[in-house]
């Protein structure tokens, strides 16, 4: 199971990194989403994996999962949503003002873009 989780984290990271290195905003945002999954699972996994262990206190249980990483990841999920939303809007704004959603400024300034 550990190997599966580690591979998942690695695969998501690799895909995310590849996508954020693209030249258009949309793949970059999707890449960030994948990276977010990877990081969230990574942080969650720092509490070590547990299957079938109760996360809620009860008298019958002998062991619990580690709640702290879960709480951290929960806030991380919500925050990354907020961040994604802002990024999407920025990309949208750039696309509407210039006509495409390139992320780089290396080329000569594009035409004012009323195409």
């Amino acid at each position: 199971m550990e190997l599966v989780v580690a591979t998942t984290i690695g695969g998501l990271t690799a895909a995310g990194v590849y996508l954020i290195l693209r030249l258009r905003a949309f793949p970059v945002i999707l890449g960030l989403t994948l990276l977010t999954y990877a990081v969230n699972v990574f942080v969650f996994a720092t509490g070590r994996l547990a299957v079938g262990v109760p996360p809620v206190l009860n008298d019958a249980a002998s062991a619990y999962t580690d709640p702290l990483p879960q709480a951290l990841v929960l806030t991380a999920i919500v925050i990354s949503f907020g961040m994604t939303a802002v990024l999407v809007l920025i990309a949208l704004g750039a696309a509407l003002e210039t006509g495409d959603d390139k992320v780089d400024l290396t080329e000569t300034p594009r035409g004012e873009g009323d195409t």
């Binding site: 996508l19 290195l21 258009r24 702290l68 999920i77 919500v78 696309a95 780089d104 290396t106």
Partner: protein, 960 residues
Amino acid sequence: MVSGSGLLAVMVLLPFIGALVPGLMIRAGRDACATFTAVPTLLALVFLGVLAPEVMQGGTVTARIEWLPMLGLNANFFLDGLGLLFAGMILGMGLLITLYARFYLSGDDPMGQFYTYLLLFQGAMLGISVSDNILMLLVFWELTSLSSFLLIGYWKHLPEGRQGARMALTVTGAGGLAMIAGMLILGNIVGSYDLSVILQHGDEIRASEYYLPALILILLGAFTKSAQFPFHFWLPHAMAAPTPVSAYLHSATMVKAGVFLMARMWPALAGTDAWFYIVSTVGLVTMVLGALIALFKDDLKALLAFSTVSHLGLLTMLLGFGTPMAATVAVFHILNHLTFKAALFMSAGIVDHEAHTRDIKRLGGLASLMPATALIAVVAALSMAGIPPLNGFMSKELMLEEAAHTNWWGGEWPIIILATTGALLSVAYSFRFIGHTFFGPVRDDYPHHPHDPPTGMLLAPAFLSAMVVLIGLFPMVFAGPIVDVASAAVTGGRAEHVHLKLWHGVTPALFMSIIAVAGGAFLLWLHRPLDRAWQRTPRPEAKAMFDSVVARTVLGARWLIESTHNGAISRYLAIFVVATVLLGFAAFQGGGTPEPTREMLPVPPLVGVGFVLTMLATLATVFAHRNRFRTLILVSVVGLMVSAGFVYLSAPDLALTQISVDTVTVMLMLLALHFLPKYTPLESPLSMRIRDGVIAVIAGAAVASLAYSFLLTDISPISDYHLANSYKGGGGTNVVNVILVDFRGYDTYGEIVVLGIAGLTLYALMEALLNGPASRRLRNWTFPPDRSRDRHPLMMVVATRVMMPIAALVGVYIFLRGHNLPGGGFVSGLVISIALLMQYMASGFAWTQERKRFEYHAMIGWGVIIAGLTGAGAWLAGAPFLTSAFGYFTIPPFEEFELATAMLFDLGVFLTVLGAVMLMLYSLSRMARYAGETVNLEPMDYDPSRRVDAAIEADKKDEA
């Protein structure tokens, strides 16, 4: 009654507070401006006078203000003999300079600025002299560099002024940085950043293995500040400053900060071979070299500048000797140098002011034209040359006496010869200053006919020259006591009481003195041929070297920036990823991989399927990413699988949140994609894609191996505490939720504020966008011809209407159970916002908008306020912010139930999440209106309860 310690702290603050005044008072005229600059200085001087008696009796005055005690950074001040001497010099000179500058500055110069900078500098200098905390001292140290930068560059229109200011800041600033490192090492050795503690631990410091690095770093700071060879070159260029600044900063106070620091640190650092050889050698070289260059300078101020360099070298050398007596002589000479050098600078300023030149070759014979100035300057210059009965004579004699029995590089002779040479050159340039400026024939080609300036301008230098004579004649009255306490402070009480007198009997120093005076006069006689020879000799030009170093640094920095920071975010991200991987790799090398201590958990077949699905979806995302709709669906598959993973791995809260957030995110992206290109064009060349692929795979492998290695080792988590206290302290059995709303409530509070801000940012951005060029593009928007004509399908409208109350009920349920079972404010906020969003999707933006009762902005605000007030409510109970309270209540006919303040907090979270999410999507959907979407009056396009032809008519109207 203010206690002594209070006075001390206020004294340091006074110049800073006073610095605000001149800028305002300049409107009331130049006299008022100067007067009000003098007030804080005078007041500080009075305070110092009140504190002085205690110090003069051998005590110290301390003021302790705790600032950041965890960092060892406290606003501690102490006033001992050395501090008293320097504080007195700084404030006294400050007063004289204020007076002098009033007459020196012309009507065109912005005087308010000048005085403000001057007071800032004075405050910083005062801070250095009485700081008891070395971190505070460093702050003041840098402040002197900054304020000196402002003062040197005061005449902004002069390129020399700007360049000189920049050079001074670069050199002293770089030295200051080195010193910070040295001081931190020192503080680390002793375990305290308090100077008074550090000075007690001299033996410990000298025995430490970090002594040498600390010493070198601190000396770098002191040498750059005090213009010691090879950092002496900035001081002459700083002479582009107005003369009052040169007199104040570059002869009397700031350049002595380095000497002060060496004196201050003397008990802690001095007494080793390293100290002796570094400090005395640098001092000696600086002394001789500075004096030599001074002899051949034609600019009066440049001559004085190099003479200052030389005298600072002398002081450094004396401190370097490391004997208590030499330190005492240094203290005495600090005082003497202040009196004669400041008087000389002011005289040079007067000459410049009156004759409109300070070129010695164009001057001469001024004694009969401006007798008062000449008298002042001659007295001061003779003291500089070391002619009895002036104060310079006494300190020079004492210096030569010390030099005469110091064993340096294997004997006493080298130092005797070099010290005598220094003194000899000093006599020569002093005589040249007098002889070629004031004596000789009166000329008729001065740029401006000179005469004595107004009395106000003469007062300050006259006072200083009087001090030169008085200290010379009655040393024990005017200098003895203060030199006594100051040198006791420098040496940690090891110095004997001083007996300053003019006549020391026939000693080796007397012979050396006689040789120096005679030789100096002879050199001056030979000056003309020597000068020609000197001009022909090639010499390294410090400014050119400095400029080329700066230019090369700029080139290097520009190359670095332009090759990394070229505006391509993909490049930054690639550099960032590669650097992170490399750092991680280095860290791995350092620590090694721990041995596995956990058994691997088995992988049931279902999980295996999920894993394969995740990987396939991820791979497909990468390879199909150019078709954006398809990628979005693939990414949501990944999101679903991750949520399923959370369920399997006992994290139901995360699964709930992940699913709802993913739903909202996909909706958001779909909305955005409506106005974005639908396909990503193939732009990057194959080589770049391969490069990115390699980077990505390496990064992924690195993260995977890191995760794998820590997953197999055990840790001792801190969450045992949370598990144990969740029910007892937080009143909830869902530990994750209790952590969010109680243990780490602060985090959550911050987080909802961020989320609220993100929502508002989106709203504001959209507002700006729709008023910009984008709105024109939107108005001309053409939709693809294949888009659905059934915009508000009947089925969807009905389904979402039915779902709405159910979803709301689920939301409330999730919210209420959150404290004890998986759920909570976050999830329920998201669930309800999804239910609402469905309405928008089904019946259109405007239709839904009209039925909205609450403003989303207000919802965010109320959410934050409720959460904040709940947290603050804990104060009423005398507990810290966000401490929760709970209790169990029974209201028939219900069962016993729990009420916790945490629930109220969670309500705030709920409202903020709901408000923020809705505001974000609301902002995005507004775009559609601009793109010409029509507003439907009915909830759905085809309403079966209405006649068919009416619907067709509506449809026609829609198309028109």
